[in-house]
């Protein structure tokens, strides 16, 4: 559908070539989006009593030496050079064999369940010419607020595969706009084409059971319905790992992942 729209616009553009300046229209894909990630064929969603819930805790570790963080070359924008308090890459963060910025989520085991719509807003900030946070999660349909705290301009370019791509400009400090995603997708990459070193990743899920590891590699996923699950850990360079885990009422299950250092 996107291709058809594209060629239609191209054809129209050729016809009105002399009036090229008037050719605009943005990237509306018009009807190409997949239907919302609901389960229409399922009977009634299984009710979940929070009193029966269990918890999941765990740790992500790195086998081998943590690669030294690369220094980000920000010289192409003097404002970034002046305002950046941290010029080190966020790809590998951690200490003592623990790995941060790993997205951990329930990959399988929640099929057929439904959950209350997410409340609140997830914020992705551009500060010091880097995205804060670097890795995060959000729900399908939840509001993502993207803000520019920098006194320079940024473009926010999301390159999902299951959702619609978008590219917006924020030329003025303090600008913000809201966005949401229709379909679960792990992960949606974000980048700033102005500042090539800026990137971030958002895991979009249709349930609330996800977390991002802190620098100590720890994560907690609470209030899980009892059951058997496949848990996946995702790292932007090290790929993914999965573990099976059983959560029982009132108990805290533990799971750990170990990635090999590159």
């Amino acid at each position: 559908m996107q291709q058809r729209n594209l060629w239609t616009v191209l054809s129209l553009s050729l016809l009105v070539m002399a009036a090229a300046v008037a050719c605009g229209g943005g990237g509306d894909s018009g009807g190409g989006a997949a239907p919302a990630a609901t389960a229409p064929a399922a009977p009634a969603p299984a009710a979940f009593d929070p009193a029966t819930a269990g918890n999941l805790t765990g740790m992500v570790m790195l086998d081998g030496e943590l690669p030294a963080a690369e220094e980000l070359m920000m010289s192409s924008d003097p404002v970034c050079v002046m305002n950046a308090s941290n010029t080190m890459s966020s790809t590998f963060v951690g200490s003592n064999g623990h790995l941060g910025n790993v997205f951990v989520y329930v990959k399988e085991g929640l099929e057929g369940r439904s959950f209350p719509a997410a409340s609140g807003t997830v914020v992705l900030d551009q500060q010091g010419c880097r995205y804060t946070p670097h890795v995060l999660g959000m729900r399908v349909g939840q509001t993502l607020e993207i803000t520019n705290s920098d006194p320079t301009l940024h473009n926010i370019h999301a390159t999902p595969t299951a959702n619609d791509e978008f590219n917006m400009g924020q030329p003025i400090q303090g600008m913000r706009f809201e966005q949401s995603f229709d379909t679960a997708e792990v992960m949606v990459p974000f980048k700033c084409d102005v500042h090539g070193w800026m990137n971030a990743y958002i895991g979009v899920l249709d349930h609330p059971y996800f977390a991002t590891t802190a620098e100590d590699g720890m994560f907690d996923i609470n209030t899980l319905p009892p059951g058997d699950y496949v848990i996946e850990a995702w790292h932007e360079q090290l790929g993914t790992q999965t573990q099976n885990v059983t959560v029982t009422t009132g108990q805290t299950a533990e799971v750990s992942f170990t990635f090999s250092a590159p």
């Binding site: 473009n155 084409d193 102005v194």
Partner: protein, 331 residues
């Protein structure tokens, strides 16, 4: 040298600069650093502050500014040709250049608004070279040398040499196809699909295949074919037409350019697509095409209408004439 010719050369040089700037946009991954078009972050294009031309915007907005300048120069050239040029086909060529540069601007806008779709991006790269060829043609056709070069005694040996005519006519077409393959490779991210050079995965032929590897390898095959054809033409000219300096010079230039181009191609791979090297490869490719076009046009000089109307008819060749000239017949 007339002022019109000087102006046409200026348009030609500005177009090469524009292609180079476009190469920097792609090489630095800045194609979407300005998310809107034809405005720039909401500003009227020409009012965008210089202080905000940072990072990728420097390349993308700079490319748009140079493109605008080339567009204005082309309008000037088309109008100038329309007003003063006696050759009707030259007027039309000027209009064709104007149409091409306008369409090119629209394609550039669509690439931005639709996040660099490969077919449009490749078309944008391909049309850029067509427009460059048009400006080269206009510069060549307005030159005094072109106007003087219609005499039969100069051209007859070339006209008889069907090998040279075939090779020199085919060369620009081959180079253009090679550039299109390169553009496809560039816009599908296949530039490093084969990570070593001059071998491919340590072999002459890749041991594994994918679309990216196939496109990349095809570009290398095309480079070898282009280089061999250029060397063959240069050798042929030296052996059979060494007195034709107007052909020998572009042939030598082509030999130099194609060797440089192959070196830059290898360097692009080995440097993992360093932007400056990558862009130099794009610009040199355009120069190879432009020089091949000049050679091809000069070899085919006798086919142009202005040659027939001027010196050509007054030096009619026995091999070409289909009937004897009648005394007093209108020319």
């Amino acid at each position: 040298m007339t002022w019109l010719h000087r102006y046409a050369r200026l348009v030609c040089a500005a177009t090469l600069l524009l292609i180079t700037a476009g190469g920097m946009v792609t090489s630095t991954g800045s194609g979407l650093s300005v998310p809107d078009w034809p405005s720039t972050y909401g500003y009227f294009m020409f009012a965008f502050p210089l202080s905000k031309m940072v990072g990728g915007i420097f390349y993308e907005h700079g490319h748009r500014m140079i493109a605008s300048a080339v567009g204005l120069l082309t309008i000037g050239l088309a109008v100038w040709l329309w007003r003063v040029e006696p050759r009707q086909w030259m007027k039309h060529l000027g209009v064709a250049a104007l149409v091409a540069v306008t369409l090119q601007g629209v394609l550039g806008g669509i690439t931005v608004l639709y996040f660099l779709p490969t077919p449009i991006s490749v078309s944008h790269a391909g049309l850029a070279q067509v427009f460059f060829c048009l400006t080269i043609g206009l510069a060549l056709f307005t030159s005094a040398g072109w106007r003087r070069s219609g005499a039969l005694d100069t051209h007859e040996p070339v006209i008889r040499d069907s090998t040279l005519v075939t090779l020199a006519t085919g060369l620009p077409a081959l180079v253009y196809v090679q550039i299109l393959i390169g553009a496809t490779m560039r816009h599908t991210g296949a530039g490093l699909a084969i990570p070593d050079f001059p071998l491919a995965f340590g072999r002459l032929v890749p041991p594994q295949w994918s679309f990216a590897i196939a496109v990349h390898f095809l570009h290398r095959i095309g480079a070898v074919a282009t280089a061999l054809l250029i060397l063959a033409i240069a050798r042929h000219l030296l052996l059979h037409h060494s007195a034709r300096r107007d052909l020998i010079r572009p042939a030598w230039a082509l030999v130099l350019l194609v060797l440089t181009q192959i070196g830059l191609g290898g360097w692009t791979v080995l440097s993992e697509r360093a932007p400056v090297i990558n862009t130099a490869h794009v610009a040199t490719g355009a120069m190879v095409l432009g020089t091949a076009l000049v050679l091809g046009l000069r070899v085919n000089r006798h086919r142009f209408p202005d040659a027939r109307q001027n010196e050509w008819r007054s030096h009619r060749a026995p091999r070409i004439a289909t009937e004897p000239a009648r005394p007093g017949a209108p020319i």
